[in-house]
């Protein structure tokens, strides 16, 4: 099993742990990831709100490179990158105008793209290509008794929903069930926006959104929140002190990339999963996993 791999900008900075743990997890599962040559920013959020066509062109450059580099599907780990790249494909298919403009822009930099490179979320790859059964068989330390709040984030399945239900995604629930965890399947905040980039421009609003997600997880007695997006992870984990200050709460909930927790279940060394990079200590989670 082999995929082209698009890490995304965050994977080189704040989301480094996501990239590191993804590579370790996929290696353990025998999935080969070939990093995309000379990739650029996907063009997410800020671009898209202001100059949509430009951001399609930026995203399409990655897809053009992917199409040239290999026949494998393009595997993406960040929710925002995934949505942006997949959306570019969709718009190029649906709108001749967008297709023409994007192709024109690519031509100016000597690239070509027909709009058909399959873009896959890493969870899609894990659940549908590797398969839950195969993953379950490789479990070294079942996550028995660990209460996992699966936090999908707003762009995991919306708006495209190609591999899961748009409004009620289930794949992450099934994934952690396969690893033996006690999944909080009715986690009501699982699709709530974390505030995203707004944390930098309107912190009050973003902190309010994080508060609701953290409260919801705590009400259900979550031991850990797992995320599938670098921005979600950073907001929910790194801004807990800000939430506590604003709302008089005492949150200290471990938040991990889902690849990190999955890696632990497969018996990968915590160091290889960059668990030490987490802000809120994951020691209680590590201690609670049965040996």
């Amino acid at each position: 099993m082999r995929y082209l791999y698009y890490p995304g900008c965050s994977a080189e900075s704040t989301g480094m742990a996501y990239d590191i743990s993804t590579r370790a997890l996929m290696e353990k599962l025998g999935v080969e990831l070939v990093e995309l040559d000379d990739w650029n920013c996907c063009g997410a959020t800020s671009y898209f709100s202001v100059r949509e066509l430009d951001s399609f062109a930026i995203a399409a450059r990655n897809l053009a490179i992917a199409q040239q580099q290999g026949d494998e599907d393009l595997c993406v780990i960040c929710n925002a990158c995934y949505t942006t790249l997949a959306k570019t494909n969709r718009y190029m298919a649906d709108s001749p105008h967008v297709r023409e403009q994007v192709q024109g822009a690519l031509k100016a930099v000597g690239r070509r793209y027909d709009g058909t490179k399959p873009v896959r979320h890493i969870m899609d790859v894990l659940v549908n290509d590797v398969g839950l059964e195969a993953i379950s068989e490789k479990v070294a330390r079942r996550l028995t008794g660990i209460k996992v709040a699966p936090y999908y984030g707003c762009q995991y399945s919306r708006p495209i929903g190609s591999f899961d239900d748009t409004e009620d995604p289930q794949t992450m629930d099934r994934f952690f069930e396969a690893l033996g965890a006690d999944v909080l399947t009715d986690f009501p905040a699982k699709l709530k926006c974390c505030g995203g980039m707004m944390m930098l421009t309107n912190a009050t609003g973003a902190v309010r959104l994080c508060h609701e997600i953290l409260k919801s997880a705590e009400d259900l007695g979550a031991d850990v929140i797992v995320a599938a997006c670098p921005l979600c992870e950073m907001n929910l984990e790194g801004y807990q002190p800000n939430v506590n200050k604003a709302y008089g709460t005492h949150f200290h909930i471990p938040v991990m990339y889902f690849t990190q927790l999955a890696g632990l279940a497969l018996g990968i060394d915590p160091k290889q999963l960059a668990i030490d990079k987490q802000v809120v200590s994951c020691a209680p989670v590590l201690a609670a996993i049965p040996a």
Binding site: D168, P188, A189, H211, K215
Partner: protein, 657 residues
């Protein structure tokens, strides 16, 4: 072929046609075509003076064929054929050329429209000399009528027909008639009690000697044609002899299985396996639920119901029974289903307590319901605040695009009932638009605005139990954007009512197929014409009424039921009926007896004659759809009025211009 004299009549249809098509030019051109004796145009051909033109020309110019270039034949072909007949011409010697729907309405350029109109008209001029005079086929009519569905629509239609002295078979799937209306507490906007106005009609239907009630029964097969239907009905076993049972309810009390979700209370209460669905049931007879009764599911039971039943009506050996009924007309009034709000996950229906569907709230507010008419949350406490969320499953591209028409009004009714029971309770109505279009509806809305109900314009985003403040803790929170204030709000409430839309019955498609008509894109039964024939279907003699056609309120349902009854009566009150002669025929000399057409005929109008070894068309059953004509490998079946040479002539005519 003798020289035919064709009259051509080009209609302006006001500006509908003349606004695009140069009718003068088309008329001038038509006059030059072979066989055309007279060519005229007129502002409205369908008006009396317009029709008179045809009659006059038959008399004065001796025209032997006519073509009217106007609207679709489904609109006015009968009008003009009748005019021709009145003038002394066989009606089937008149053709329509559709230059409105097929031409002026759908063509942007006037010159192109004029050219196209000539081709459409030319096709008919070219085929007319080949038309044969045809005579309508007369068949006898069975005077009895079947009404399928015992809700308010079916009851009303059955009563009207019975009043006219017709024998009516009223078929109902459930153990009692009454339908959804029997579940309601009050009816908007007058607030009369639903039971008070419905039960007299139910009881009248039960007692009416002309009505034969077939409750707990389902139609399985419909054969035949207008005036002569044969309907198979499966009478499901009640395991109670309906003539002996007195409806005393002692078996219900004695039954040991007590935890069956009560359908009539939408599962909010429990019933026994031996049950009478509700106190006013008609027929007031017990039914034993074969899926829950211990004896009928093969388990051990001391059968206390047998001891309790004085008249000895219980019969565990009863079997489903199939009967065949002959009727002249059928009214299908099979109603709707409430749209199940479960897929709308954001509203947490089925997940969180006290998130109710509208029908559940109907039962909670009903004196005969699970709480005895007291509006209570699941914990037995009255709510301090209730939110009513409009347009759940309606006006939503993800589910049903249409407006269900009744939800705004029943939501207002709910608000009123809550305020009446619990004056201190805060009531929020979260709506997209208020649609209060009926008689007295807007006034009712105004009244509610003065009853301290909070109206919030905005579709609710979410219902959650994650409270973020002390006032929200332990309660439900509705998140909604108030689009009038331009803010998002969090409404802490104790009960949420989801004003679900009306959906077609889950088996509507199969039912429609059984009766030989279709469904609209939204799943409701398709009427023959949305405006002018709202209760007729494509199958002559089969009518529809009520919410099976489209969501509607009780007044509209009752009106439509009356219209369907009138439609049925207008048919069965005649000893005979004429059916269209444009049907297919099979030349026995040419038929090889291959059977292909027999299986393909959607109306079961072709039978195989074993003796002669050929297929034969049942004249009265054939609808003239042409399937057999197209399917036969040897081209044997031919459809009158659409003979091969006539169609080829049309094509030549269209291409000749």
């Amino acid at each position: 072929m003798a020289q035919e004299k064709i009259g051509v009549y080009v209609c302006h249809c006001g500006t509908n046609i003349a606004g695009k098509v140069d009718v003068e030019e088309v008329t001038r051109w038509a006059a030059e075509q072979p066989n055309v004796a007279v060519a005229r145009n007129y502002k409205y051909m369908c008006s009396d003076p317009g029709q008179d033109l045809i009659k006059q020309d038959i008399k004065e110019h001796g025209i032997t064929r006519a073509v009217v270039a106007a609207c679709s034949p489904t609109m006015h072909e009968p009008t003009f054929r009748k005019a021709a007949a009145d003038g002394g011409l066989n009606p089937y010697l008149l053709q329509m050329a559709n230059i409105r729907e097929h031409c002026s309405w759908v063509t942007v350029d006037g010159e192109a429209a004029t050219a196209k109109a000539k081709r459409i008209l030319g096709a008919q001029i070219h085929r007319l000399p080949l038309n044969e005079p045809l005579d309508p086929i007369e068949v006898p009519v069975n005077p009895n009528v079947m009404v399928v569905g015992g809700g308010i629509a079916g009851i009303e239609a059955a009563l009207k027909l019975a009043q006219a002295g017709k024998k009516v078979y009223l078929v109902e799937r459930d153990p009692s008639i009454g339908g959804h209306m029997a579940m309601f507490d009050k009816t908007f906007p007058t607030l009369d009690c639903a039971a008070c106005i419905l039960t007299p009609k139910m009881s009248a239907a039960g007692k009416e000697p002309h009505i034969e009630m077939l409750a707990y029964s389902e139609v399985t097969e419909v054969e035949g044609y207008v005036g002569n239907f044969k309907v198979k009905v499966r009478k499901k076993a009640r395991y109670v002899d309906i003539d002996t049972c007195t409806g005393c309810g002692l078996c219900t009390e004695a039954c040991v299985v007590r935890k069956v979700p009560n359908e009539f209370d939408r599962g909010l209460s429990k019933r026994a396996a031996a049950y009478i669905p509700f106190p006013q049931a008609v027929p007031l007879r017990a039914t034993i639920d074969p899926t829950r009764c211990l004896t009928l599911t093969g388990k051990k039971c001391k059968q206390p119901c047998l001891t309790a039943c004085g008249p000895g009506a219980i019969d565990f050996d009863q079997k489903d029974e199939e009967i065949e009924v002959e009727v002249g007309a059928i009214i299908v009034a099979t109603g709707f289903e409430l749209w199940d709000p479960t897929p709308e996950k954001r509203y947490s229906y089925g997940k969180l307590d006290n998130v109710l569907s509208s029908l559940e709230f109907e039962r909670i507010s009903n004196a005969s319901g699970p709480t005895g008419g007291h509006i209570l949350c699941k914990n037995g406490e009255p709510p301090k605040a209730v939110a009513i969320l409009h347009c759940v499953g309606s006006r939503d591209e993800n589910y049903q695009e249409f407006c269900s028409r009744v939800c705004c009004m029943y939501s207002l009714k709910f608000a009123h009932l809550i305020k009446e029971h619990l004056p201190e309770c805060e009531v929020y109505e979260c709506y997209i638009d208020m649609r209060t279009y009926g008689k007295g509806y807007e006034e009712f809305y105004k009244r509610l605005m003065n009853e301290d109900v909070h109206f919030i314009r905005g579709r609710a985003a979410e219902v959650t139990d994650v409270g973020l403040s002390p006032t929200e803790e332990g309660r439900l929170v509705v998140k909604v954007e108030d689009t009038l204030l331009g803010i998002t709000r969090r409404l802490p409430v104790d009960m949420v009512i989801l004003s679900s839309g009306l959906a077609p019955r889950s088996d509507a498609k199969e039912t429609a197929q059984t009766f030989g008509f279709g469904c609209s894109a939204n799943g409701f039964y398709l009427e023959r014409h949305p405006k002018l024939e709202p209760v007729s279907t494509v199958t002559d003699g089969i009518f529809i009424a009520g919410c099976c056609q489209y969501p509607k309120d009780i007044p509209d349902t009752v009106a439509q039921a009356g219209a369907a009854a009138a439609g049925a009566l207008a048919l069965v009150d005649n000893p005979t009926v004429n059916v269209e002669p444009t049907i297919s025929y099979i030349d026995p000399e040419k038929c090889s007896g291959c059977h292909i057409c027999v299986g393909l005929c959607p109306h079961a109008a072709i039978q195989y004659n074993e003796e002669k070894g050929v297929a034969e068309v049942i004249t009265a059953a054939c609808k003239g759809c042409g399937v057999c004509v197209a399917a036969c490998a040897s081209g044997v079946p031919q459809q009158r009025g659409y003979l091969d040479e006539q169609i080829f002539a049309e094509i030549e005519g269209a291409l000749a211009v």
